[in-house]
Amino acid sequence: MSPKKLFARSAAMIALTTASFSTFAEEVNIYSFRQAFLIEPIMEKFTEQTGIKVNILFANKGLIERVKREGELSPADVVLTTDISRLVSLTSQDLTQPIQSEKLNSNIPSQYRDPENQWFALTTRVRNIYSSSERIGPVDITYQDLAKPEFKGKICTRSGKHPYNVSLVASVIAHEGEANAKVWLESVKANLARKPQGNDRAQVKAVKDGLCDYALGNNYYLGKMLADPKQVSWAEAVNINFPNQNTTGSHVNVSGVVLTKYAPNKANAIKLIEFLSDDVAQQMYAEVNYEYPVKVSVQPSKLVASWGQFKADTLPLAEIAKQHQAAVKLLDEVKFDL
C-alpha cells in the first residue's frame, strides 16, 4: 500500500470517530470499569425502551484519570464502577454532580447512596469465604477466624491489592482500628497456602485441586462458574459461606454509578441511571450476573436465593471507603503480596 493511501485512510478513520460524537442526537456515553459484555444486554434493553444509543468504553484502569484530564470536554456522561472506593474517589476529586431524583431515592435504600446524591450503588456483592465441600463442608466462620493458627497453610486469596480485598481490609480497620487490623492481616498472611495470585475463580479452583481448604471470593463468581462448562466442576467443589453472621455481618461491596460533572447528555444520563435502578435492569443484574439487586422489591436469582438469607455489615460504605488508603498502606507494611 502506498503511504499516501495509508494517510488518506487514517485521516478518514480519525474523521469518522470524531463524527461519531456528533451524529447521534439521542445518546449517552459510558466509561465503564465493568466488562462491556456483562452490561451490554442491559444497555440493549435501555436502547430498546428509550431509543437512546449507548456508547461504552471499557477499561479496568485509568478511567478516572481520563475523565479528570478531559475536564469540561469529557464525553463521558456516566461512570460505572465495580467498587465503592472508585465511587468515592470520583466524588472526592470533584468529577461528579448530584442527581435529585424521586425514583432513585425510592429505588435505592439510603445506605446504598451518597448522602449528597453524588454516587449510587446498583448492586451489592458479598465477600464470601468458600470452603472445600469435600474436606470441610459448610461452616460458620468469620474473617477474624482466618487469622487463627489452625488455619495455617489452608487459605487462598487473590492479590491483597485488588479493590475487593482492599475494601475488606478497610472494613476490618473501620471496625477494629488500624493496630488490630495489622495484627489480623499479618496472621492471615502467615496462614496463606500460597502467595496471593490469580483472580477469585482461580482460588476456587485451588480449593478443588486441594491446594487449600478456604478461599476468599465474591458471591457472584460461584454463579458464573456454575454456568461455565469448564468451571462447573470447580464450583461444585466448594460450599459458599457468609462470614461474620454472629458478629458484625458479612462485608458487602457495591457496583455503582456516578453522573459526571460535565456530562454532555445529562438528561439521557439520568434516564439511564434511573433505568439501571429500576425493575427491568435490577432483575437482569440479578439473573445474568448473580449479584444482589439494591432495589428491595426485586428478588435475587433462584440460585443466589438458594444460598440463603444473610446478615450484611451495617457500617456505612462511606465509612469503609475512608479507610481505603490506610488499607493499601497496611497491605504494603505487612508485605501481604510478597
Binding site: 478513520m13 480519525i14 459484555f37 468504553l57 470536554l73 483472580n199 482461580a202 485451588a206 488508603q325 510478597l338
Partner: protein, 544 residues
C-alpha cells in the same frame, strides 16, 4: 545562505522527537509537583526495596536467558549448514507474534496442579495429592523469566543474525588459518564484532521487560511497575507513580549511555568479499543432532506448543467465539497496526538519517529521547499522552469559544489520533533501533563517494542508503506492526467509544480466566502478525 528547505530538514527530527518525548516530559514534570499523600516515603519504608530487587532480578534473568537462546541460534543459522536451516532461520522469529501474557496463561494451564502434565504424572506415578511430590511452581519469578525470555529472545536473535550475516566471513577464516579453533575464532572475532547489535537487542528486551505488567502480574511477581500502578490507582498519587517511572527511566538512560560509551571507538562496516553465507561449515554427527535438538526444542517451547494449545481451544470453542464483530475487530487492529508501523518507520528513518548527516551529541540525544517510551508501562504511557493532548484540546476549544465559534470537543485526545500517538511513543524505539543498527553497517565511504560524484544528500539517501537498508526497514515495519497488534493497555485506555481491537477483545475473556473463549481472536492476532512477516520474508528471499 541557508534555504528554507534545509531548515525544514533540520527541524523535522526535533519536531518528531518532541512529539514522542513530550508525554514523557509531562510525566516527569508531574513527578516534581507537590505530593501531600507522602506515599513515596511510605513506599521507601515498606516495599520499594523488594520491588526494585525483584525488577533487577527479572531483567537480569530475562536478559541472560534470551542471550542463551538467541546467541547460539543466530550463530548456528548464520554460519553453519544443517538440514532445515532455511526453515528455522525465519521460524525462530515467530514467537514474536504471540502476546507474552497469552503464552503465560497457556503454560500455567498446562503446568499447574490440575493441568495435563501434572495429571499425567500423578496417574503414572500413583501420587494422590500435592504433598506426595514436588513439581516446580510456574507462577514464580523464574516462570516469569522463562516465559518473557521465550517471548522476547527473537529481538536479539534477529539483530544478531543480521550482524553475523553482515560480517565479513574472511575475518573468521583468517582467524581460523591463524590457528584458532572455531569456538576461539567466534569468541575473539565474530562475537566482539556483533556487540552493537547485541547491545541494541538486549536493551530492547530490557525495556520491554521493564514496561511489562500483564505477564509479571499474572505470575504474582511484583516489580516496580506494580509500585507505579499501586501508588497511582490505589493511593491516588500520580505524582509518586511519576516519580518511580522517572527513576526507572533515568536508570535506563544511564545504563544505555554507559554501554554506548564503552564502545564509542568501535566502528564496523560491511565490506565486500566473502560473507559467512559462502563459507558456512557443514555440521555432521552428534554436532548436527545437538544443534537441531536445541533449535527445534526452542522453537517448540516458544511457539509450536503454545500455538497448538490455542488452536485446540479455538477449535473446541469455535462456535461460541465466532461472531460477526470479530471481522470488524480484526480490521481495526490491522489498520491501526499498519498506520502505526508506517509512521514508526518514518520516524526511525528521520532520526537515524539526522544522526548520519549531522552526527554528534544532538543527534544522539534525539535518538535516545525518541526511544524512551518503550520502557514505560502501557497504562502509564496512556496517561502521559493524555496530559499534553487534553491540555491542547482544552486550550483549542477555549480559543474557539473566545472567537465566537462553537466547541468541537476532544479532537486530539478523544479520537484515534491519540491512540496512534500512544502506540508511537511506545514502539518507535523498535523502529529507531533496528533501522539504526542496519544503517550503522553501511560504510560512510559510500556516502562520501556518492557526494563526490555530485549527488545531493537527498539523492544519496535515496539512491545509496535506502536500498542498502531495505532489509532493516522491512524488519522495523514488521516488528512495530506485530507489537501494535499485541498491545493491550494503551489501547484499552485511549481508544474511542465502541472501538475494539483484537487485543482488547481477547482481554475481556482472559481477565475472567476464560482463555478458551479468547483463543480464536488470539489466534487472529498471531495470524495477522504472521502474514506480513511471511510475505516480507518471501520478498527478501527472492531479492537475494
Amino acid at each position: 545562505m541557508i534555504s528554507n528547505k534545509s531548515w525544514f530538514y533540520k527541524l523535522l527530527p526535533w519536531g518528531v522527537t518532541f512529539l514522542l518525548v513530550m508525554p514523557i516530559i509531562a510525566l516527569v514534570m508531574s513527578a516534581f509537583s507537590v505530593d501531600e499523600s507522602s506515599s513515596f516515603q511510605h513506599l521507601i519504608d515498606t516495599v520499594l526495596f523488594d520491588y526494585t530487587f525483584t525488577t533487577l532480578k527479572v531483567i537480569a534473568g530475562v536478559l541472560l536467558l534470551s542471550f542463551c537462546f538467541a546467541l547460539p541460534s543466530a550463530w548456528f543459522i548464520s554460519c553453519c549448514e544443517f538440514p532445515s536451516r532455511s526453515i528455522l532461520q525465519w521460524a525462530l522469529m515467530l514467537p514474536l507474534a504471540l502476546p507474552p501474557y497469552i503464552v503465560a496463561i497457556v503454560y500455567t494451564d498446562l503446568l499447574d496442579f490440575s493441568g495435563p502434565v501434572q495429571q499425567f504424572l500423578r496417574e503414572f506415578m500413583h501420587w494422590q495429592s500435592v504433598s506426595d511430590y514436588y513439581f516446580p511452581d510456574i507462577r514464580t519469578i523464574y516462570g516469569a523469566m522463562v516465559i518473557l525470555a521465550l517471548a522476547l529472545y527473537p529481538y536479539l536473535y534477529l539483530l544478531l543474525r543480521s550482524a553475523f550475516l553482515g560480517q565479513s566471513g574472511g575475518l573468521f577464516q583468517a582467524a581460523r588459518t591463524l590457528g584458532l579453533s572455531p569456538f576461539q575464532a567466534f569468541r575473539r572475532v565474530s562475537f566482539p564484532l556483533s556487540r552493537s547489535a547485541m547491545a541494541v537487542g538486549l536493551s530492547l528486551i530490557a525495556m520491554e521487560t521493564l514496561g511489562d505488567f500483564a505477564t509479571v502480574n499474572y505470575f504474582a511477581v511484583h516489580t516496580l511497575t506494580t509500585a507505579v500502578y499501586d501508588t497511582w490507582l490505589e493511593l491516588g498519587s500520580l505524582t509518586t507513580a511519576a516519580k518511580i517511572s522517572s527513576i526507572m527511566l533515568l536508570a535506563l538512560v544511564i545504563f544505555i549511555g554507559l554501554e554506548g560509551h564503552s564502545r564509542r571507538k568501535q566502528k564496523i562496516y560491511q565490506r565486500s568479499g566473502a560473507t559467512h553465507t559462502d563459507l558456512r561449515f557443514e555440521l555432521i554427527g552428534w554436532r548436527k543432532f545437538s544443534v537441531l535438538a536445541f533449535l527445534w526444542g526452542l522453537l517448540f517451547l516458544a511457539f509450536i506448543l503454545p500455538l497448538s494449545v490455542l488452536i485446540y481451544y479455538a477449535f473446541s470453542y469455535f462456535a461460541v467465539s465466532l461472531n460477526a464483530q470479530l471481522w470488524q475487530y480484526t480490521l481495526n487492529s490491522f489498520w491501526l497496526a499498519s498506520i502505526v508501523a508506517s509512521l514508526a518507520l518514518l520516524i526511525g528513518l528521520i532520526v537515524n538519517f539526522y544522526q548520519r548527516l549531522a552526527p554528534g551529541l544532538l543527534a544522539k540525544t534525539c535518538i535516545r529521547l525518541s526511544s524512551l517510551g518503550y520502557a514505560v508501562p502501557g497504562t502509564v504511557v496512556a496517561i502521559a499522552v493524555l496530559i499534553p493532548f487534553t491540555h491542547l484540546d482544552l486550550w483549542f476549544n477555549r480559543q474557539l469559544v473566545e472567537f465566537g465559534f462553537s466547541r468541537v470537543g476532544l479532537i486530539f485526545s478523544g479520537t484515534l489520533f491519540i491512540l496512534v500517538i500512544g502506540y508511537l511513543v511506545r514502539f518507535s524505539a523498535i523502529a529507531v533501533g533496528s533501522i539504526g543498527s542496519s544503517l550503522e553497517q553501511v560504510a560512510p565511504s559510500l556516502d562520501l563517494a556518492s557526494r563526490s560524484l555530485g549527488q545531493t544528500a537527498g539523492q544519496t539517501i535515496r539512491r545509496v542508503n535506502l536500498p542498502l537498508i531495505k532489509k532493516g526497514m522491512l524488519t522495523a515495519f514488521i516488528l512495530v506492526f506485530i507489537e501494535a497488534m499485541k498491545e493491550l493497555p494503551t489501547a484499552l485506555l485511549l481508544r474511542p467509544f465502541n472501538f475494539e481491537t483484537l487485543a482488547t477483545y481477547v482481554y475481556q475473556f482472559v481477565s475472567d480466566e476464560m482463555i478458551e473463549y479468547a483463543a480464536l481472536p488470539a489466534l487472529l492476532i498471531v495470524l495477522m502478525g504472521l502474514i506480513p512477516f511471511i510475505v516480507v520474508n518471501r520478498l527478501l528471499e527472492k531479492a537475494s
